[in-house]
Amino acid sequence: MTDISQNKPQSRIAAFWDSDLAYAFRHSPIAMVSFLTVFLLVFSALCAPLIAPFNPYDPASLDLMNGFTPPMTSNDFTGAEFMLGTDDQGRDVLSTILYGMRISLFVGFSAVMFAMILGISLGLIAGYIGGWTETIIMRIADVQLTFPSILVAMLIFGIAKGVTPIEYRDQMAIWVLIIAIGLSDWVQFARVVRGATLVEKNREYVLAAQLIGRSSPVIMLRHILPNVLSPVLVIATISLALAIIAEATLSFLGVGAPPTQPSLGTLIRIGQGFLFSGEWWILFFPSCTLLALALSVNLLGDWLRDALNPKLR
């Protein structure tokens, strides 16, 4: 028995490596490149305090004299050199990007998680219970789909801003952002999960569970949920890219992350003011990072959708 339990994790990795999904991954250059990009970006964002040359939030590290230093050239006054240049206040652009990406990724992940939990629960309930519950949930979803999601997010953000006391506003901003993006995004999870649930609930294994008297929540969570997750995984990946972009858009419009906690979108908003005065790098590098992040996550999602659906191959 002991050697079985020792062998188990190893064989599981080997089994995964041998699975069709891993095989498809190894044979798709796009998937590998985008996975590598996402991995590098997420890794560097997570380790920002360790690898960033400066802490952009520490006023002590700022020297106004370093302002507007172009990339890879030494500053006229201090002689300091910055890889990606500095902004108007002398902050290192590379460091602000690394720290900004943390905010962007945090908001993106949390918003998708929130949308996923909400959408999966409502979708499961609508699909499994049916009847009036289903009608009400799905009509709400339909109505919400008629508004552009960015508008919904702005609306929620606006309302939240109105009701929070002014001294908490900056602290609350990130959380409000997560809820706003999450609430605008749950519909597609709910729709897909409901559709898959409608198929699964007529399968005989669900009948077998009903037969022994399992309660509806147990059947939904233990039996149906694991079987509807693979399309959810695909949507979640693509949603992550969209959530990151939505966060950037909101921040760019000035209703997102506050300047004290700048996300990529905030950086782009700050940078666009200097675009026509020649300081292109302040805008260019955060935009490129956003592009690389969103594009590679999106490509990864597309690949995952194809790989999980053999009919498209």
């Binding site: 294994y205 009948l207 077998a208 569970a209 037969l211 022994i212 694991p226």
Partner: protein, 560 residues
Amino acid sequence: MTLLDISDLTVAFPTRKATFIAVDSANLTVEPGQIHGLVGESGAGKSTIGAAVMGLLDRPGHITGGTISLKGKSISGLDREAMQSLRGKEISMIFQDPLTSLNPLLTVGDQLIETIRNHLGLNEADAKERAIDLLRQVRIPDPDTRIDQYPHQFSGGMRQRVVIALALCSEPDVIIADEPTTALDVSVQAQILELIKDLAQEKQVGVILITHDMGVIADTTDVVTVMYRGKVVETGPTAQVLGQPSHEYTKSLISAVPRPDTKMHRFPLVSYGGRETTFQIEDLARNWKKTELDKSKPLFEIRDLTKKFLKKPALIPSRREFSTAVDQVSFDIKQGEVFGVVGESGSGKSTIARMIAGLYGVDGGTITFDGQEVTGAQDLSSYRSQIQMIFQDPYSSLNPRMRIDAIIAEPARHHGILSGKALQHRVDELLDRVGLGAAAGRKYPHEFSGGQRQRISIARALATQPRFLICDEPTSALDVSIQAQILNILKDLQEHLNLTMLFISHDLPVIRQMCDRVGVMKNGVMVEQADTESLFTAPQHAYTQELLSFMPRLDGVATG
């Protein structure tokens, strides 16, 4: 001259891991006017031969050897374009499911006329005339009006006739019929087979009839080829192959077919290829908590059971429309007996099973179990722990994301009968007894075949040591050899464990072999109830007599 000559055909499906040889040097000839049966169990490669002839092999499958020639001309080397013009014109195909092989958005006439014009180059009026003529040939009544109707206005059997008419449009030389009657009820099946037989004679068309059903082969074909795992094991005139089979596999395959004429104690097993796995009923019976049987008392008393399904929902209750699926059905199930319910699709037999299982609510009538009324009872948990069910489709009755041991343990754990080590022990024991071995518990359902999955279903049903077992078409998705194994297991359960059973099936021979008493369902009404023997020897109701007359018979077949 030989119409279609397949020689040494080999079809391979290369996959990542290995190359799978689906058809291994198969030889087959079809003469004009001849119906050539191709029989075998799933995975035997019979449909692959059909697809290879049509040039419709699913990728990555391809022909790696041998030739297919039509009227002396080789067609296996043709490119896609040449094949396309051949397909439908000289060879056409009838598929299994008439529901999906017609376009629901076009009238039957549109589909026929388009095909006729494509192949024969006739003008609109002539083509229409021909279409009507074709519908008449496939015995569709009133073809002049039917031609302008849509597929959904036709019944299943009528739709399959339209599909046959479509296949005949281009006056083909060869028709490949891939399980043409599997989706149809027996009464319709008999008519369609009769039609195919007549048309083959009339038009001198060669037909390859692919089926898994020995009864269909016996009734319809002139020549039969038996396949086993990609290889042709036996070929010859139907009467000879079925009457004096020379190959071991054919012999055991024929003997595994449930016999409609006499009741046998057990099914002979298909021993060829070492597929047999043992079921250790004695070991299981030793630890079984048996309840004493009082054969005079009924276990179930079912009175006026009614189920209505909502056909048209509406806010106001009086505006709602219902269809009655089960209409005032009454019967008793005595302790220790197997009660069969037989009927065609839509007759309400599964609905009865699901109402008894508590899966559907009851709209009228009562179910009494062991002297206690179940309908309307508040606490069903004691009832639920005493009944279990075996489902039809072994591919959907096990949760694909759960491990086998968790699947089997779930009922016993839920009812609080066993837990912890004792439960694990019970699961291991059950897996061992149904012939899978305790190690199977750590695997997932997709690692097992259909027959093995049905054994897992049985193990799950036995985990709570129930008194009553509902079998809803437990073998209709299985091959005959596997069916024989599963039915033997069910017989063992009834004999050794004192189980009472409700056995639902559309298959009359299976009912005859399994049941003590039978109820015949038609359109939600139980038209006749009798002992199995008297029902099969002296049916009283006209519908029962009709059903029995359509039952395919293996006349002159070697007794196993």
